[in-house]
Amino acid sequence: MTHLLAPAARGRRSRVAGRVAARLGSALLVVWLASTLAFFAVHAAPGDIVRVLIGTGPDTPEVRAAVSARWGLDQSLGQQYIEFLRRLLSGDLGESFVLRRPVTDVIGDEILPTVQLAGAASALALLAATAISVATAGRRLRRRVAGSVELTLVSVPDFWLGLMLLFLFSFTLPWFPVAGASGASSLVLPAIALGAPIAGVLSQLMRQGLEEALDQPFATTVRARGVSDLRLRLGHGLRHAALPVVNLGGWIFASLLGGAVIVEQVFGRPGLGRLILSAVQGRDVPLVVGIALMSSIAYVACNTLADLVSWWIDPRLRNPVPA
């Protein structure tokens, strides 16, 4: 196919490839800086790491030396750093002081229920936001009502919403289980509690995006072709409204993870939330930092992917005009 492209188009191709490469490069740079920060955070942790590692055992010089050697603490900081990066590249986030197991294994055991919850919540939020924004964009009365609903959704703390849902639909009306993570019915209430604030933000953004699109001259052109208002909103407008949502990809991920920590606590669900909180309580620094680093990497991946997707949606973003 390439040979059919005019030189200008080929130049554009290579420019796009260049920008993708640059974007991936800066993502890697951020991940590397975050890892470095994480490494030094573990080493700057207050207290004597060796003492923590010995636990209840006898604190003799021989034991100290053995423990230091076992955890690689007898090497110089520079050697430890290089070793840390080498292990990170092979997917090793270190070992928990408290559980004495690799951080990745610990996370692997707990991640599934959290992923299920986050998936259900984001699907719910996207569906609700799309429906609300398409139905209310550019309509004076409806957008006023929707605006108040969204403001409330954004302002209600997810844990309180969770408590109220529990109170209404588990205690008062026994429709859903009070705690646990067995089956789809245990997912409904937590997903609503976690998804509602996100839906509020997305719906506002999508309506704004839709209204901007509908205000542009091309909307008149499309309607002048005989296209109905609904088709204009769904066929043309939504693609424009999707851009700000995609750009928030990283934010959505962070809100899901942060919110999940708390919502899991409300509903007594297993998952990363329980893991993080017990790690913070137990001052298990390698585990806390490992989880933080993992989520930082996932966040950067989300944002990078979001940029690539938005370039795919909007061709104008691929070739920004030089200022």
């Binding site: 130049g11 420019r15 001259p217 091309f218 008149t220 499309v222 309607r223 693609r239 061709p315």
Partner: protein, 527 residues
């Protein structure tokens, strides 16, 4: 219906937005193969008419009679309108960059009316899109059709927009300022294309502020002003025997380029601005964008020197280098015989007031928190001069701005008032040189004529050297002492207006001259 029925028959169209009437009784009758033009300045009610004729206007619309192809359109509901839009009445808007969905390929945009009105079977749609694009002179077939509007040149975009409008073979095409955003050479091509469509039998309502463009396509002209019909008649009558003063002024502004006879002016004074071999590039080493190459330019006291060229020719870059806002890569600028650019900012600061600018969009050049008084006072104080009410009002008086405006925010003023304020601010520092970058292009014809008068007066009274940057050859010819023609960063031709217009043999200058829309001495023969 029969062939004798008009495609559009409209009488007594009035439009109200709340209590405000924006159109007072418009009559239009357009038959097959006929082109009627609606001419007026911005705010005259042209564009709301276009939307009303498509049933897309969110306002109170009333008519005495409104039929499309013999069918009563006054009482149609939304469903019925949808069958008419695109199929019987179609629309071509101003700039296709914003009038086509920027996220869709050209082929999908052209295909949409085909799908909406099931014009051809689904299987033949792709072929029909190719045929349509071919018929409007859109080259390259499938490859370019899969591009997005922003990847195409202005002319190609406009062709694609026209293809999408005529896709469902409408009987009436409403063209709302279809050539306004285009460079003159491309403008001429698009007008040819529209003329071909009417020759093929399509009825057209051509809406424009530019009577010169209109004179090339229209059979009849309706002149609108403030929602009132000023005058209606065949094109020949409107151009040669206009009945109303307003029409006469419109026609006057659009006549063949005329030039100043510099014999009228005193000999120019000392040289105030001199650019020598100025070059500038932008972009990266791999993708350099050349903005200026070896530009030489001189401006003397009391002289207007115009730099003309199409968009992207580098004329604005040269202006910013003259202002000392950009440094040249090579070459130098002298101000009043002393080095000016490149020079460290520290050494330049105390002389900055001697070169001032008048920008194209004055609003963005005012601090959004400043009132008129503060805008002018800051310029006065920068010179250490007193800036009381009296002094500020005196500066406003130079450009005939009323002292009532002292405490208004520029954004609440009219376009003409803002542009006057921009002139006033520039004059407040008593400069030697004024760099005016498209200072009139955002204004309509009447305001433009007024402000050209203001510029000419202050040039004379203050012995200002003016560097005028514009795309408008007609304007430059009327007010300049010398003109430099720029293309791709290079000055390709220069001379007095008289020499350029009468005897330049540079092909690009001739091309620009030929493409300037003007009222031809013999209007096209009416059918």
């Amino acid at each position: 219906m029969t062939d004798q029925d008009p495609v559009l028959d409209l009488s007594g169209l009035t439009i109200d937005f709340g209590a405000r009437r924006v159109l007072h009784g418009l009559d239009l009758r357009i038959g097959r193969g006929e082109c009627v033009a609606l001419v007026g300045e911005s705010g005259s009610g042209k564009s709301v008419t276009a939307k009303a004729l498509l049933g897309l206007l969110d306002a109170r619309v009333a008519t005495d009679r409104f039929t499309i192809l013999g069918q009563d359109a006054a009482a149609l509901d939304e469903r019925a309108w949808r069958r008419i839009r695109g199929r019987q009445v179609a629309l071509v808007h101003q700039d296709a960059l914003v009038s086509l969905d920027p996220l869709r390929t050209v082929a999908r945009e052209v295909g949409e009316p085909l799908r909406e009105h099931s014009v051809v079977p689904r299987a033949e749609r792709a072929a029909e899109v190719r045929r349509l694009l071919g018929s409007v002179g859109f080259p390259g077939g499938s490859r370019r059709a899969s591009q997005h509007p922003d990847e195409l040149s202005g002319g190609l975009r406009q062709r694609a927009l026209i293809a999408s409008a005529v896709a469902a073979r409408p009987a009436l095409l409403i063209a709302d300022e279809p050539t306004t955003a285009l460079d003159v050479t491309v403008q001429a091509q698009v007008i040819d294309l529209l003329r071909a469509l009417t020759s093929a039998g399509m009825a057209m309502l051509f809406i424009s502020h530019d009577i010169a463009v209109v004179s090339q396509v229209a059979d009849r002209i309706v002149v609108l002003r403030d929602g009132q019909v000023v005058e209606t008649g065949p094109v020949e009558q409107i151009l040669h025997r206009p009945g109303a003063d307003f029409t006469r002024r419109l026609v006057q502004n659009a006549l063949e380029p005329t030039f100043t006879d510099i014999g009228d002016r005193p000999a120019p004074g000392r040289e105030v601005l001199r650019l020598e071999a100025v070059s500038k590039r932008f972009g990266t080493a791999h993708h350099p964008i050349v903005a200026a190459t070896d530009v030489d330019l001189r401006v003397h006291q009391g002289e207007v020197v115009s730099l003309i060229g199409e968009s992207g020719s580098g004329k604005t870059t040269v202006g910013r280098i003259a202002l000392g806002l950009l440094s040249p890569d090579r070459g130098s600028v002298a101000l009043d015989g002393e080095p000016w650019n490149p020079l460290p900012e520290r050494a330049r600061r105390s002389r900055r007031h001697r070169v001032q600018q008048v920008p194209q969009d004055p609003l963005s050049s005012f601090n959004p928190r400043y009132t008129t008084r503060r805008v002018v006072a800051e310029a006065l104080r920068a010179q250490g001069r007193p800036a009381g009410t009296q002094e500020v009002a005196a500066v406003l008086d130079l450009v005939s701005l009323d002292a009532d405006l002292l405490d208004r925010m520029p954004r609440s003023m009219s376009g003409g008032q803002r542009q006057r304020l921009a002139f006033a601010r520039a004059l407040a520092t008593e400069p030697d040189v004024l760099v005016a970058d498209e200072p009139f292009s955002a204004l309509d014809a009447t305001l433009q004529a007024e402000l050209v008068g203001v510029l000419d007066r202050i040039r004379q009274e203050h012995q200002l050297g003016v560097l005028l940057i514009t795309h408008d050859l007609g304007l430059a010819a009327r007010i300049s002492d010398r003109i430099l023609v720029m293309r791709d960063g290079v000055v390709v031709d220069q001379g007095t207006p008289k020499v350029l217009i009468e005897s330049s043999d540079h092909p690009y200058t001739r091309q620009l001259l030929a493409a300037v829309p003007r009222i031809r001495t013999s209007p096209r023969v009416l059918r």
